[in-house]
């Protein structure tokens, strides 16, 4: 394959698509599949064939359209219409309405803030292309970034472009991606590896899964560019086995990419060669931690080891290894195509580009969104997210999963970026956002996350192994109104211990939900402790006592 071939494929694909007057996109990502979009797609295809419409109307399975609450979702690409909650019985109505007035009862307001306020880079193809056909990705300039990089840029120039963009890792800590690539490129050694971290273990997060299910080639292209820039020729995608659909689509995408020659030897007729293998994780949260993930790929138990040395210097099978998150890689192809300066034009001073968030909890529009860095929490929750259902009061939003914190209403106008979140004691994390209303007891929320960390702690280091259990016990005592006078002090003491002495990020950040709720919702704790009463009326034991 050379660059001309790539353009050729894109042209053919485009004209083929233009041949259809109507394209019906049915979301076949995990969310909509689970409420029957598979059958819906089949029924549409059958009905179209029966009516003989198949020359001018086509049904296409696409990735996530975003508004997962309203599934199964369906979009009429040419008309720009979204249908929500579509059932098989709606099929004939939909087909009849093609070209005419849309089916009123199914219409999903595309003009709503949910769609209007988003800026899509990572998700630009999600819901628009068929993730199971590489040609469609190519028609959207796919693999153009890789072609550009390997044929017209030196590895150093690629890294400079990434550095210029200001892209920071989307896996949690927000480490500058350009810097990481530089250190891998500089590390001595002939063999290097690129790993894509698709472990995504936080409860409530499904960004990476959606990207892999909806647009797997984007991640593959990003990894190949990274391989070129750092001097690696082998990549691994570490994805949890609980994501069977993502695994299937990634495998298919790899197969197609190899067949087309955008992976393999002498990519685009250059000396650059790159291959990717898939490795399945058994679903341990700690295996998302980079050193544990590497151990797991090597076939050992997924337990972190002390850093330094960092993987960039000493990684997979002791070779320099670049490890980035799915979303980080997904940002790379457009960044190379359009330039780092373009990317740096989005977002805030220190956090560039966009971020994908998974909105969940007590919010109208549950689903996946992508917004520029620096969008305020208020805009995300009330505008894009549609606010709190059933007229309840907003209480907190939890970001960053079990490693993050609970942010109270007073910070709603804060811009969402790495540094502002850190300032209030939370983290960006991978992008989970759980909204809580007045009926949530924050002690109970902290207890939930600590239970998660307790059962996901690998058990290697003493502070985390025993500390999570002790903290969990205290939180159970408090929510059960059985706490003693010293429990609050002991809670703070243990949180401080774990933060300062745990070996890996899991233990170091596990206290965050407790610490932030203690800071912002202390009354919830005090009421349980002194009045034996749950302020939010959420904890069962508390109600029984009252």
């Amino acid at each position: 394959m050379n660059i001309e071939d790539l353009h050729q494929i894109a042209r053919i694909e485009k004209s083929k698509q233009e041949g259809f007057q109507h394209q019906i996109h049915v979301c076949v990502a995990a969310g909509c599949l689970s409420c029957g979009s598979g059958q819906l797609k089949e029924a549409l295809e059958k009905e179209i064939a029966r009516r003989g419409l198949d020359t001018w109307c086509r049904v296409k399975g696409v990735g996530c359209l975003g508004l997962c609450t309203a599934g199964p979702l369906l979009s009429l690409e040419t008309a720009g219409i979204f249908y929500q909650g579509v059932k098989v019985s709606d099929v004939s109505d939909i087909l009849e309405a093609l070209g005419g007035a849309p089916v009123e009862r199914l219409i999903c307001p595309v003009n709503s803030a949910f769609f209007r306020r988003q800026v899509r880079i990572v998700l630009e193809n999600c819901g628009r292309i068929d993730p199971e056909r590489i040609e469609e990705y190519m028609a959207e300039s796919g693999y153009g970034g890789l072609a550009l990089a390997v044929s017209q840029m030196s590895p150093t120039e690629v890294i400079e472009e990434v550095s210029r963009s200001g892209l920071r890792g989307r896996g949690g800590a927000g480490f500058p991606t350009g810097l990481k690539w530089t250190s891998v490129a500089k590390a001595s050694g002939l063999t290097k590896f690129v790993i894509c971290n698709a472990d995504e273990g936080d409860p409530g997060a499904f960004m990476d899964r959606s990207v892999l299910e909806s647009d797997p080639h984007r991640v593959i292209e990003g990894m190949a560019i990274a391989g070129y820039a750092t001097g690696a020729s082998q990549g691994y995608i570490y994805v949890r086995a609980e994501y069977p659909l993502a695994v299937k689509r990634v495998r298919l995408a790899l197969f197609q990419a190899e067949r087309m020659g955008v992976l393999g030897n002498n990519i685009f007729n250059t000396s650059f060669s790159f291959n990717i293998k898939v490795r399945l994780g058994a679903g341990a949260f700690v295996c998302g931690e980079e050193t544990a993930l590497i151990a797991s790929i090597e076939g050992r138990m997924g337990r972190p080891r002390p850093r330094p040395p960092f993987p960039a210097e000493f990684g997979l099978w002791e070779h320099p290894t670049l490890i980035n998150n799915v979303e980080t890689f997904a940002n790379v192809p457009p960044l190379i195509r359009k330039g780092g300066r373009w990317f740096a034009g989005l977002g805030t001073e220190k956090s560039k580009g966009t971020k994908v968030f998974a909105l969940a909890g007590k919010i109208m529009n549950t689903g996946l969104i992508e917004v520029p860095m620096g969008t305020s929490l208020r805009d995300i929750v009330f505008d894009i997210g549609g606010g709190i259902p059933r007229g309840k009061e907003f209480k907190a939003v939890q970001t960053g999963g079990p490693s993050g914190g609970c942010i109270p209403g007073q910070f709603l106008d804060m811009p969402v970026d790495y540094d502002s979140l850190a300032k209030v004691g939370s983290i960006m994390g991978s992008g989970g956002m759980i909204v809580m209303d007045e009926s949530s007891c924050m002690v109970d929320v902290a207890r939930f996350f600590m239970e998660f960390c307790m059962s996901e702690s690998c058990g290697k280091c003493a502070p985390c192994r025993v500390g999570t259990r002790q903290i969990y016990d205290i939180l159970c005592r408090i929510t059960g109104n059985l706490s003693g006078p010293d429990d609050l002090a002991m809670l703070e003491d243990l949180c401080d211990l774990m933060k300062s002495t745990s070996l890996c990020g899991l233990g170091q950040s596990a206290p965050n939900p407790v610490l932030t709720t203690l800071r912002y919702f202390r009354d919830d704790y005090l009421s349980h402790i002194h009045d034996k009463r749950c302020l939010a009326g959420a904890c069962k034991a508390a109600r029984e006592v009252a």
Partner: protein, 255 residues
């Protein structure tokens, strides 16, 4: 295999550099591939450790050996941290000492360390650490888990009530004896050391009966049969020699 690229880099072609730095206000000099712990001990400065044992690979897991380094916000485990030129290390600041105490107290709460009826009473590293750190009582609630004793081996027994999960047994059996009978099962607070694939020790087909694991175990978790309370004294003199003769010199299998 190497745990750290800076470990074992010495060779005629690549001699390691000598560094000067400070430990507790004292100026010391050492090779760049010596851990802070080892340099401190060579200079008569004691740092408490539990998972570390001379002769075995490092694990960096018990976190008792943490030290403060000026200008670094994080506390660093001295057994796996290497010095840099002009580093200023503080081994026993108030903060570090109080954390060490708390970690040790947590370890006491984790299992059922009933010293009074233990074969290792009086010869136990956990007890000694408690004395060294001045622990008079444990402030956190004891967890009192329900754990088993496996006495199926003809000469040894394992009492999980007294295990601190240092994994010295796993390492010595793998790295020195080459049998890899021990490993660890489960995770978090439910972790437990196992023989073979969680078979009774007595039925293990890999165990050679060498007893090394028993000798390196810091507590009464592993003991020789026939020993009564306070009679189990461990002998470890063999370790440095055997490590030199048959250990994997540069072990990178942090367990």
């Amino acid at each position: 295999m190497k745990i750290h690229p800076r470990k074992n880099v010495r060779s005629d072609l690549n001699p390691s550099r000598l560094l000067t730095f400070r430990i507790d206000e004292r100026v010391v000099s050492a090779h760049e591939d010596e851990s802070i712990l080892s340099v401190a001990r060579q200079n008569g400065i004691s740092i408490p450790t539990l998972c570390h044992l001379d002769g075995l690979s490092e694990r960096g897991a018990c976190r008792l050996c943490i030290v403060e380094v000026k200008g670094v916000a994080r506390l660093l485990p001295s057994c796996v941290t290497f010095p840099r030129q002009d580093m200023e290390i503080i081994t026993a600041s108030e903060r570090v000492v109080s954390y060490r105490k708390k970690i040790l107290e947590l370890l006491f709460t984790e299992r059922n360390h009933v010293c009074a009826v233990c074969v290792s009473n009086g010869h136990c590293e956990l007890q000694n650490l408690a004395v060294e750190l001045g622990i008079s009582h444990v402030r956190y609630p004891y967890l009192y888990p329900r754990l088993a004793v496996d006495a199926s081996h003809s000469r040894f027994s394992v009492d999980h009530n007294r295990c601190v999960l240092c994994l010295r047994c796993v390492r010595v059996c793998d790295e020195i004896e080459g049998a890899h009978t021990w490993d660890i099962m489960g995770r978090g607070i439910t972790s437990r050391v196992i023989t073979d694939l969680n078979q009774p020790w007595g039925s293990s087909e890999t165990c050679t009966g060498c007893g090394k694991c028993v000798q390196v175990c810091p507590t009464g978790a592993l003991s020789e049969k026939g020993k009564s309370v306070a009679e189990m004294i461990k002998r470890r003199q063999f370790l440095p020699y055997l490590q030199m003769m048959r250990g994997r010199q540069d072990e990178s299998w942090p367990k």
